[in-house]
Protein backbone atom coordinates (compact mmCIF):
# COMPACT_ATOMS: atom_id res chain seq x y z
CA UNK A 1 0.00 0.00 0.00
CA UNK A 2 1.71 3.19 -1.16
CA UNK A 3 -0.83 5.66 0.14
CA UNK A 4 -4.38 5.75 1.40
CA UNK A 5 -5.07 9.04 -0.31
CA UNK A 6 -7.67 9.22 -3.03
CA UNK A 7 -6.71 11.41 -5.94
CA UNK A 8 -9.60 12.87 -7.90
CA UNK A 9 -9.07 13.52 -11.58
CA UNK A 10 -11.79 15.69 -13.05
CA UNK A 11 -12.01 15.80 -16.83
CA UNK A 12 -13.55 18.87 -18.42
CA UNK A 13 -16.27 17.85 -20.87
CA UNK A 14 -16.70 21.31 -22.42
CA UNK A 15 -16.82 21.88 -26.15
CA UNK A 16 -13.27 23.10 -26.61
CA UNK A 17 -11.71 20.38 -24.47
CA UNK A 18 -13.68 17.73 -26.35
CA UNK A 19 -12.51 18.87 -29.79
CA UNK A 20 -8.92 19.40 -28.66
CA UNK A 21 -8.45 15.79 -27.59
CA UNK A 22 -10.43 15.61 -24.36
CA UNK A 23 -12.83 13.09 -25.89
CA UNK A 24 -10.12 10.42 -25.37
CA UNK A 25 -9.57 11.20 -21.71
CA UNK A 26 -12.43 9.16 -20.17
CA UNK A 27 -10.39 6.14 -21.34
CA UNK A 28 -7.98 7.05 -18.53
CA UNK A 29 -9.86 4.77 -16.13
CA UNK A 30 -8.90 1.75 -18.26
CA UNK A 31 -5.22 2.71 -18.45
CA UNK A 32 -4.59 2.99 -14.73
CA UNK A 33 -2.42 0.30 -13.17
CA UNK A 34 -4.08 -2.07 -10.71
CA UNK A 35 -2.47 -0.33 -7.75
CA UNK A 36 -3.67 3.06 -8.92
CA UNK A 37 -7.21 2.01 -9.70
CA UNK A 38 -8.28 1.90 -6.08
CA UNK A 39 -6.77 5.26 -5.29
CA UNK A 40 -7.69 7.36 -8.27
CA UNK A 41 -11.19 8.54 -8.92
CA UNK A 42 -11.93 9.67 -12.48
CA UNK A 43 -14.84 12.09 -12.77
CA UNK A 44 -16.31 14.42 -15.34
CA UNK A 45 -17.21 18.07 -14.96
CA UNK A 46 -19.15 20.50 -17.11
CA UNK A 47 -17.03 23.19 -18.78
CA UNK A 48 -14.69 24.50 -16.09
CA UNK A 49 -14.32 27.82 -18.01
CA UNK A 50 -10.51 27.44 -18.03
CA UNK A 51 -10.60 28.15 -21.77
CA UNK A 52 -11.68 31.74 -21.07
CA UNK A 53 -8.01 32.43 -20.37
CA UNK A 54 -6.54 32.33 -23.88
CA UNK A 55 -3.03 31.77 -22.54
CA UNK A 56 -4.03 28.32 -21.33
CA UNK A 57 -4.37 25.41 -23.72
CA UNK A 58 -7.11 22.74 -23.68
CA UNK A 59 -7.92 19.95 -22.94
CA UNK A 60 -8.03 20.61 -19.23
CA UNK A 61 -8.21 18.30 -16.25
CA UNK A 62 -7.91 19.05 -12.58
CA UNK A 63 -6.06 16.64 -10.33
CA UNK A 64 -7.10 17.29 -6.74
CA UNK A 65 -8.11 20.77 -7.91
CA UNK A 66 -4.73 21.50 -9.51
CA UNK A 67 -5.18 22.47 -13.15
CA UNK A 68 -3.37 20.57 -15.90
CA UNK A 69 -3.29 22.04 -19.43
CA UNK A 70 -2.95 20.05 -22.66
CA UNK A 71 -3.81 16.91 -20.77
CA UNK A 72 -3.31 13.49 -22.27
CA UNK A 73 -3.65 10.04 -20.75
CA UNK A 74 0.17 9.62 -20.66
CA UNK A 75 0.67 13.03 -19.08
CA UNK A 76 -1.94 12.34 -16.37
CA UNK A 77 -0.49 8.91 -15.60
CA UNK A 78 3.03 10.36 -15.35
CA UNK A 79 1.70 13.02 -12.98
CA UNK A 80 -0.10 10.43 -10.85
CA UNK A 81 2.98 8.15 -10.71
CA UNK A 82 5.06 11.09 -9.56
CA UNK A 83 2.45 12.03 -6.95
CA UNK A 84 2.36 8.49 -5.56
CA UNK A 85 6.13 8.26 -5.67
CA UNK A 86 6.58 11.51 -3.73
CA UNK A 87 4.11 10.24 -1.18
CA UNK A 88 6.22 7.21 -0.38
CA UNK A 89 9.40 9.24 0.14
Amino acid sequence: MITDKIITVKICTGTLCHVMGGSELPELAYHLSESMKSKVEVKGMVCGQFCRDSSKKPPFVTINDVLMEQASIEKIIRYLEKAFCNDTK
Binding site: I11, T13, G14, T15, L16, H18, V19, M20, G22, S23, P26, A29, V42, K43, G44, M45, V46, C47, Q49, C51, R52, S54
Partner: protein
Amino acid sequence: MITNDYFIEIAHKNLQKAGQEVCGDVFLSKKIYEEGRTISVLSDGLGSGIKANVLATLTASMALNFTIEHQPLERSSKAIKSTLPIDQDRKISYATFSIVDIEYDNETSIVEYGNPPFIVFRGTSPLKDIIKKDYKSDIKQCSFCAQREDRIILFSDGVSQSGIGRMEMPFGWEIEDIENFIADIIEKNPRISAEDLAKKIVNKAHTNDSLSAQDDISCIVIYFRKPRNLLICSGPPYKKEKDKLIADTIRFFDGNKIICGGTTAQIISRELGLEIETDLYAGDSQLPPLSFMKGIDLVTEGILTIGKVAECLESGEILSDKNPAGKIIKFILANDHIKFLIGTKINDAHQDPTLPVELEIRRNVIKKIAYILKEKYLKEVEIQFI
Protein backbone atom coordinates in the same frame (compact mmCIF):
# COMPACT_ATOMS: atom_id res chain seq x y z
CA MET B 1 -50.82 23.85 -35.23
CA ILE B 2 -51.83 25.26 -31.86
CA THR B 3 -55.12 27.12 -31.88
CA ASN B 4 -57.11 27.77 -28.73
CA ASP B 5 -54.80 25.46 -26.80
CA TYR B 6 -55.15 22.61 -29.28
CA PHE B 7 -52.41 20.89 -31.08
CA ILE B 8 -53.14 19.05 -34.30
CA GLU B 9 -50.95 15.98 -34.43
CA ILE B 10 -50.82 14.41 -37.87
CA ALA B 11 -49.27 11.00 -38.42
CA HIS B 12 -49.00 8.91 -41.54
CA LYS B 13 -47.95 5.27 -41.75
CA ASN B 14 -47.76 3.24 -44.90
CA LEU B 15 -46.64 -0.10 -46.21
CA GLN B 16 -46.20 -1.00 -49.85
CA LYS B 17 -47.75 -4.03 -51.47
CA ALA B 18 -45.59 -7.14 -51.00
CA GLY B 19 -42.94 -7.27 -53.73
CA GLN B 20 -43.11 -3.55 -54.60
CA GLU B 21 -40.33 -1.08 -53.93
CA VAL B 22 -42.49 1.99 -53.36
CA CYS B 23 -45.95 2.66 -52.01
CA GLY B 24 -48.68 3.65 -54.43
CA ASP B 25 -50.49 5.68 -51.76
CA VAL B 26 -49.25 9.23 -51.26
CA PHE B 27 -49.85 11.51 -48.30
CA LEU B 28 -49.08 15.24 -48.28
CA SER B 29 -49.65 17.73 -45.52
CA LYS B 30 -49.02 21.43 -45.27
CA LYS B 31 -49.51 24.11 -42.67
CA ILE B 32 -50.34 27.57 -43.96
CA TYR B 33 -48.99 29.59 -41.08
CA GLU B 34 -50.37 32.94 -42.32
CA GLU B 35 -53.93 31.60 -42.34
CA GLY B 36 -53.59 29.14 -39.46
CA ARG B 37 -54.78 26.35 -41.76
CA THR B 38 -53.66 22.74 -41.95
CA ILE B 39 -54.33 20.75 -45.10
CA SER B 40 -53.74 17.02 -45.49
CA VAL B 41 -54.29 14.95 -48.61
CA LEU B 42 -54.25 11.18 -49.20
CA SER B 43 -54.32 9.73 -52.68
CA ASP B 44 -54.26 6.12 -53.80
CA GLY B 45 -52.96 5.64 -57.34
CA LEU B 46 -54.37 3.04 -59.73
CA GLY B 47 -52.55 -0.28 -59.31
CA SER B 48 -49.35 -0.42 -57.28
CA GLY B 49 -45.65 0.36 -57.50
CA ILE B 50 -44.00 3.27 -59.30
CA LYS B 51 -46.88 3.89 -61.71
CA ALA B 52 -49.38 4.16 -58.86
CA ASN B 53 -46.99 6.35 -56.91
CA VAL B 54 -46.65 8.79 -59.82
CA LEU B 55 -50.43 8.99 -60.30
CA ALA B 56 -51.02 9.44 -56.58
CA THR B 57 -48.26 12.07 -56.24
CA LEU B 58 -49.75 14.01 -59.13
CA THR B 59 -53.25 13.80 -57.65
CA ALA B 60 -52.18 14.62 -54.11
CA SER B 61 -50.06 17.62 -55.15
CA MET B 62 -52.85 19.03 -57.31
CA ALA B 63 -55.50 18.45 -54.65
CA LEU B 64 -53.27 20.08 -52.03
CA ASN B 65 -52.48 23.14 -54.15
CA PHE B 66 -56.08 23.63 -55.31
CA THR B 67 -57.24 23.46 -51.70
CA ILE B 68 -54.60 25.96 -50.57
CA GLU B 69 -55.94 28.34 -53.23
CA HIS B 70 -59.55 27.84 -52.02
CA GLN B 71 -60.63 26.45 -55.40
CA PRO B 72 -64.12 24.89 -55.54
CA LEU B 73 -64.09 21.12 -55.41
CA GLU B 74 -65.79 20.59 -58.78
CA ARG B 75 -63.07 22.58 -60.49
CA SER B 76 -60.27 20.75 -58.67
CA SER B 77 -61.61 17.29 -59.37
CA LYS B 78 -62.27 18.12 -63.02
CA ALA B 79 -58.71 19.41 -63.42
CA ILE B 80 -57.27 16.36 -61.68
CA LYS B 81 -59.29 13.93 -63.79
CA SER B 82 -58.30 15.61 -67.06
CA THR B 83 -54.63 15.71 -66.08
CA LEU B 84 -54.17 12.10 -65.04
CA PRO B 85 -52.80 9.94 -67.85
CA ILE B 86 -54.92 7.03 -69.12
CA ASP B 87 -53.72 3.63 -67.98
CA GLN B 88 -52.68 1.58 -71.01
CA ASP B 89 -53.97 -1.72 -69.61
CA ARG B 90 -57.25 -0.63 -68.07
CA LYS B 91 -57.98 2.32 -70.41
CA ILE B 92 -59.02 4.55 -67.52
CA SER B 93 -57.42 7.40 -65.60
CA TYR B 94 -58.01 7.11 -61.96
CA ALA B 95 -56.65 8.00 -58.56
CA THR B 96 -58.57 8.54 -55.36
CA PHE B 97 -58.25 11.47 -52.97
CA SER B 98 -59.26 12.53 -49.50
CA ILE B 99 -58.71 16.13 -48.45
CA VAL B 100 -58.85 17.40 -44.89
CA ASP B 101 -58.87 21.18 -44.50
CA ILE B 102 -58.65 22.46 -40.92
CA GLU B 103 -59.20 26.20 -40.45
CA TYR B 104 -57.62 28.36 -37.74
CA ASP B 105 -60.76 27.98 -35.57
CA ASN B 106 -60.75 24.17 -35.94
CA GLU B 107 -63.62 24.31 -38.45
CA THR B 108 -62.83 21.17 -40.40
CA SER B 109 -64.02 20.05 -43.79
CA ILE B 110 -63.30 16.68 -45.31
CA VAL B 111 -63.85 15.67 -48.91
CA GLU B 112 -63.38 12.13 -50.07
CA TYR B 113 -63.54 10.50 -53.47
CA GLY B 114 -62.90 6.81 -54.12
CA ASN B 115 -61.18 6.01 -50.81
CA PRO B 116 -62.86 3.95 -48.07
CA PRO B 117 -65.02 6.18 -45.85
CA PHE B 118 -63.06 8.22 -43.32
CA ILE B 119 -63.87 7.90 -39.64
CA VAL B 120 -64.18 10.74 -37.12
CA PHE B 121 -63.83 9.71 -33.50
CA ARG B 122 -65.01 11.93 -30.67
CA GLY B 123 -63.52 10.35 -27.58
CA THR B 124 -64.18 6.65 -27.87
CA SER B 125 -67.09 6.63 -30.31
CA PRO B 126 -67.32 7.44 -34.02
CA LEU B 127 -69.38 10.43 -35.21
CA LYS B 128 -71.66 9.05 -37.90
CA ASP B 129 -74.32 11.63 -38.70
CA ILE B 130 -71.95 14.37 -39.91
CA ILE B 131 -70.99 12.68 -43.18
CA LYS B 132 -73.01 13.57 -46.28
CA LYS B 133 -72.79 11.59 -49.46
CA ASP B 134 -73.49 12.95 -52.93
CA TYR B 135 -74.61 9.80 -54.77
CA LYS B 136 -74.36 11.45 -58.18
CA SER B 137 -70.67 12.29 -57.99
CA ASP B 138 -69.81 9.63 -55.40
CA ILE B 139 -68.11 12.31 -53.32
CA LYS B 140 -68.50 12.25 -49.55
CA GLN B 141 -68.22 15.48 -47.61
CA CYS B 142 -68.45 16.59 -44.07
CA SER B 143 -67.75 19.71 -42.07
CA PHE B 144 -67.72 20.08 -38.35
CA CYS B 145 -65.97 22.00 -35.63
CA ALA B 146 -63.29 19.79 -34.14
CA GLN B 147 -63.00 19.55 -30.39
CA ARG B 148 -60.14 18.51 -28.19
CA GLU B 149 -59.69 14.70 -28.20
CA ASP B 150 -61.25 14.33 -31.67
CA ARG B 151 -59.48 12.08 -34.14
CA ILE B 152 -59.86 11.93 -37.90
CA ILE B 153 -58.80 8.63 -39.43
CA LEU B 154 -58.25 8.19 -43.16
CA PHE B 155 -57.07 5.04 -44.86
CA SER B 156 -56.61 3.51 -48.27
CA ASP B 157 -58.45 0.42 -49.48
CA GLY B 158 -55.37 -1.63 -48.56
CA VAL B 159 -56.71 -1.36 -44.99
CA SER B 160 -60.41 -2.01 -45.61
CA GLN B 161 -59.72 -4.85 -48.04
CA SER B 162 -57.01 -6.48 -45.93
CA GLY B 163 -57.64 -10.14 -45.25
CA ILE B 164 -60.25 -10.33 -48.01
CA GLY B 165 -61.33 -13.88 -48.79
CA ARG B 166 -60.29 -15.26 -45.44
CA MET B 167 -62.88 -17.41 -43.69
CA GLU B 168 -63.34 -14.95 -40.82
CA MET B 169 -63.39 -11.84 -43.03
CA PRO B 170 -64.70 -12.79 -46.50
CA PHE B 171 -65.32 -9.13 -47.43
CA GLY B 172 -62.11 -7.83 -45.91
CA TRP B 173 -61.75 -5.72 -42.78
CA GLU B 174 -65.16 -4.06 -42.69
CA ILE B 175 -65.60 -0.48 -41.57
CA GLU B 176 -67.61 -1.46 -38.48
CA ASP B 177 -64.86 -3.82 -37.41
CA ILE B 178 -62.24 -1.16 -38.00
CA GLU B 179 -64.29 1.25 -35.86
CA ASN B 180 -64.54 -1.33 -33.08
CA PHE B 181 -60.81 -2.00 -33.30
CA ILE B 182 -60.03 1.74 -32.96
CA ALA B 183 -62.63 2.27 -30.20
CA ASP B 184 -61.06 -0.58 -28.25
CA ILE B 185 -57.57 0.93 -28.55
CA ILE B 186 -58.74 4.40 -27.52
CA GLU B 187 -60.67 2.98 -24.56
CA LYS B 188 -57.56 1.21 -23.32
CA ASN B 189 -55.28 4.18 -23.99
CA PRO B 190 -57.31 7.42 -24.28
CA ARG B 191 -54.16 9.54 -24.89
CA ILE B 192 -52.69 7.35 -27.63
CA SER B 193 -50.69 9.48 -30.07
CA ALA B 194 -51.67 9.78 -33.72
CA GLU B 195 -48.38 8.10 -34.60
CA ASP B 196 -49.03 5.03 -32.44
CA LEU B 197 -52.66 4.67 -33.53
CA ALA B 198 -51.75 4.85 -37.24
CA LYS B 199 -49.01 2.26 -36.65
CA LYS B 200 -51.45 -0.09 -34.87
CA ILE B 201 -54.02 0.15 -37.70
CA VAL B 202 -51.40 -0.50 -40.41
CA ASN B 203 -49.93 -3.41 -38.44
CA LYS B 204 -53.38 -4.97 -37.96
CA ALA B 205 -54.15 -4.68 -41.68
CA HIS B 206 -50.76 -6.25 -42.42
CA THR B 207 -51.58 -9.10 -40.03
CA ASN B 208 -54.98 -9.56 -41.74
CA ASP B 209 -53.02 -10.05 -44.97
CA SER B 210 -50.91 -12.72 -43.21
CA LEU B 211 -47.93 -10.32 -43.23
CA SER B 212 -47.82 -10.17 -47.01
CA ALA B 213 -49.63 -6.94 -48.01
CA GLN B 214 -52.03 -7.58 -50.91
CA ASP B 215 -52.26 -3.86 -51.69
CA ASP B 216 -50.61 -0.63 -50.54
CA ILE B 217 -51.68 -0.01 -46.94
CA SER B 218 -51.87 3.58 -45.66
CA CYS B 219 -53.38 5.17 -42.61
CA ILE B 220 -53.48 8.80 -41.54
CA VAL B 221 -54.52 9.87 -38.08
CA ILE B 222 -55.19 13.51 -37.21
CA TYR B 223 -55.49 14.04 -33.48
CA PHE B 224 -56.63 17.28 -31.77
CA ARG B 225 -55.01 17.29 -28.40
CA LYS B 226 -53.49 19.27 -25.59
CA PRO B 227 -50.08 20.49 -26.75
CA ARG B 228 -46.95 18.94 -25.26
CA ASN B 229 -44.24 21.50 -24.58
CA LEU B 230 -40.47 21.33 -24.66
CA LEU B 231 -38.03 24.01 -23.59
CA ILE B 232 -34.49 23.92 -24.94
CA CYS B 233 -32.22 26.36 -23.24
CA SER B 234 -28.76 26.97 -24.64
CA GLY B 235 -26.10 29.60 -24.20
CA PRO B 236 -25.41 32.26 -21.58
CA PRO B 237 -27.36 35.52 -22.02
CA TYR B 238 -25.69 38.56 -23.53
CA LYS B 239 -26.16 40.46 -20.28
CA LYS B 240 -25.47 38.76 -17.00
CA GLU B 241 -28.53 40.40 -15.40
CA LYS B 242 -30.70 38.07 -17.48
CA ASP B 243 -29.34 34.93 -15.78
CA LYS B 244 -32.24 35.00 -13.33
CA LEU B 245 -34.75 35.29 -16.17
CA ILE B 246 -33.39 32.10 -17.77
CA ALA B 247 -33.49 30.28 -14.44
CA ASP B 248 -37.08 31.41 -13.75
CA THR B 249 -38.23 30.43 -17.24
CA ILE B 250 -36.86 26.94 -16.64
CA ARG B 251 -38.27 26.69 -13.14
CA PHE B 252 -41.83 27.64 -14.12
CA PHE B 253 -41.98 25.90 -17.51
CA ASP B 254 -44.74 23.35 -17.88
CA GLY B 255 -43.24 20.53 -19.96
CA ASN B 256 -39.93 18.82 -20.73
CA LYS B 257 -36.75 20.81 -20.15
CA ILE B 258 -33.36 20.43 -21.84
CA ILE B 259 -30.19 22.41 -21.19
CA CYS B 260 -27.49 22.40 -23.88
CA GLY B 261 -24.20 23.86 -22.75
CA GLY B 262 -21.88 23.66 -19.75
CA THR B 263 -21.93 27.37 -18.99
CA THR B 264 -25.73 27.47 -19.23
CA ALA B 265 -25.97 24.47 -16.91
CA GLN B 266 -23.72 26.25 -14.42
CA ILE B 267 -25.89 29.38 -14.53
CA ILE B 268 -29.03 27.34 -13.83
CA SER B 269 -27.23 25.37 -11.15
CA ARG B 270 -26.14 28.57 -9.41
CA GLU B 271 -29.47 30.37 -9.73
CA LEU B 272 -31.68 27.44 -8.71
CA GLY B 273 -29.26 25.85 -6.22
CA LEU B 274 -29.20 22.54 -8.09
CA GLU B 275 -26.15 20.30 -8.28
CA ILE B 276 -24.72 19.12 -11.61
CA GLU B 277 -23.25 15.65 -11.94
CA THR B 278 -21.36 14.67 -15.09
CA ASP B 279 -21.23 11.00 -15.98
CA LEU B 280 -18.21 10.51 -18.24
CA TYR B 281 -19.66 7.31 -19.62
CA ALA B 282 -23.23 8.49 -20.30
CA GLY B 283 -23.42 8.92 -24.03
CA ASP B 284 -21.13 7.75 -26.79
CA SER B 285 -17.65 9.01 -27.56
CA GLN B 286 -18.73 11.08 -30.58
CA LEU B 287 -20.14 13.87 -28.43
CA PRO B 288 -19.30 15.10 -24.94
CA PRO B 289 -21.15 13.11 -22.25
CA LEU B 290 -24.40 13.90 -20.48
CA SER B 291 -24.74 15.61 -17.14
CA PHE B 292 -27.59 15.35 -14.69
CA MET B 293 -29.51 17.96 -12.76
CA LYS B 294 -32.62 17.40 -10.64
CA GLY B 295 -35.79 18.50 -12.39
CA ILE B 296 -34.13 18.84 -15.81
CA ASP B 297 -34.83 16.08 -18.32
CA LEU B 298 -31.54 16.32 -20.18
CA VAL B 299 -28.28 18.25 -19.75
CA THR B 300 -25.85 18.10 -22.67
CA GLU B 301 -22.87 19.96 -24.08
CA GLY B 302 -23.74 22.94 -26.28
CA ILE B 303 -22.72 23.71 -29.84
CA LEU B 304 -21.36 20.30 -30.97
CA THR B 305 -24.51 18.54 -29.75
CA ILE B 306 -26.99 21.00 -31.25
CA GLY B 307 -24.95 21.00 -34.46
CA LYS B 308 -25.39 17.23 -34.63
CA VAL B 309 -29.12 17.62 -33.89
CA ALA B 310 -29.45 19.99 -36.87
CA GLU B 311 -27.50 17.64 -39.12
CA CYS B 312 -29.58 14.57 -38.22
CA LEU B 313 -32.94 16.36 -38.37
CA GLU B 314 -32.06 17.49 -41.87
CA SER B 315 -30.72 14.18 -43.16
CA GLY B 316 -33.09 11.90 -41.24
CA GLU B 317 -30.10 9.96 -39.85
CA ILE B 318 -31.09 7.87 -36.83
CA LEU B 319 -28.71 8.05 -33.89
CA SER B 320 -28.25 5.50 -31.14
CA ASP B 321 -30.30 5.84 -27.97
CA LYS B 322 -27.11 6.63 -26.05
CA ASN B 323 -26.08 9.55 -28.21
CA PRO B 324 -26.88 12.91 -26.53
CA ALA B 325 -28.07 14.44 -29.84
CA GLY B 326 -30.24 11.35 -30.42
CA LYS B 327 -31.80 11.90 -27.00
CA ILE B 328 -32.58 15.55 -27.82
CA ILE B 329 -34.19 14.51 -31.12
CA LYS B 330 -36.31 11.94 -29.28
CA PHE B 331 -37.61 14.69 -26.97
CA ILE B 332 -38.23 17.04 -29.91
CA LEU B 333 -40.24 14.44 -31.82
CA ALA B 334 -42.31 13.57 -28.76
CA ASN B 335 -43.36 17.20 -28.24
CA ASP B 336 -45.48 19.63 -30.24
CA HIS B 337 -44.45 23.07 -29.16
CA ILE B 338 -40.71 23.59 -28.99
CA LYS B 339 -39.47 26.74 -27.29
CA PHE B 340 -35.84 27.73 -27.69
CA LEU B 341 -34.42 30.11 -25.11
CA ILE B 342 -31.08 31.06 -26.59
CA GLY B 343 -28.37 33.14 -24.95
CA THR B 344 -26.47 35.13 -27.54
CA LYS B 345 -23.19 35.67 -25.73
CA ILE B 346 -20.37 34.43 -27.94
CA ASN B 347 -17.65 32.29 -26.45
CA ASP B 348 -14.45 33.86 -27.78
CA ALA B 349 -12.50 30.68 -27.23
CA HIS B 350 -14.71 28.99 -29.88
CA GLN B 351 -13.77 31.52 -32.56
CA ASP B 352 -10.10 30.57 -32.73
CA PRO B 353 -9.38 29.93 -36.45
CA THR B 354 -6.79 27.27 -35.58
CA LEU B 355 -9.42 24.94 -34.07
CA PRO B 356 -9.57 21.53 -35.78
CA VAL B 357 -13.34 21.88 -36.32
CA GLU B 358 -15.52 24.81 -37.20
CA LEU B 359 -17.77 25.79 -34.33
CA GLU B 360 -20.79 27.58 -35.65
CA ILE B 361 -22.55 30.48 -34.01
CA ARG B 362 -25.31 29.07 -31.79
CA ARG B 363 -27.90 31.53 -33.07
CA ASN B 364 -27.48 30.32 -36.67
CA VAL B 365 -27.70 26.63 -35.79
CA ILE B 366 -30.87 27.18 -33.78
CA LYS B 367 -32.45 29.14 -36.65
CA LYS B 368 -31.65 26.22 -38.95
CA ILE B 369 -33.16 23.68 -36.52
CA ALA B 370 -36.28 25.84 -36.12
CA TYR B 371 -36.73 26.03 -39.89
CA ILE B 372 -36.39 22.24 -40.32
CA LEU B 373 -38.77 21.56 -37.43
CA LYS B 374 -41.41 23.85 -38.91
CA GLU B 375 -41.15 22.73 -42.51
CA LYS B 376 -40.26 19.05 -42.25
CA TYR B 377 -41.66 18.00 -38.88
CA LEU B 378 -44.63 20.43 -38.75
CA LYS B 379 -43.77 21.54 -35.19
CA GLU B 380 -44.73 24.79 -33.56
CA VAL B 381 -41.47 26.59 -32.85
CA GLU B 382 -40.75 29.69 -30.80
CA ILE B 383 -37.31 31.24 -30.44
CA GLN B 384 -36.41 33.77 -27.81
CA PHE B 385 -32.93 35.27 -27.99
CA ILE B 386 -31.71 36.69 -24.75
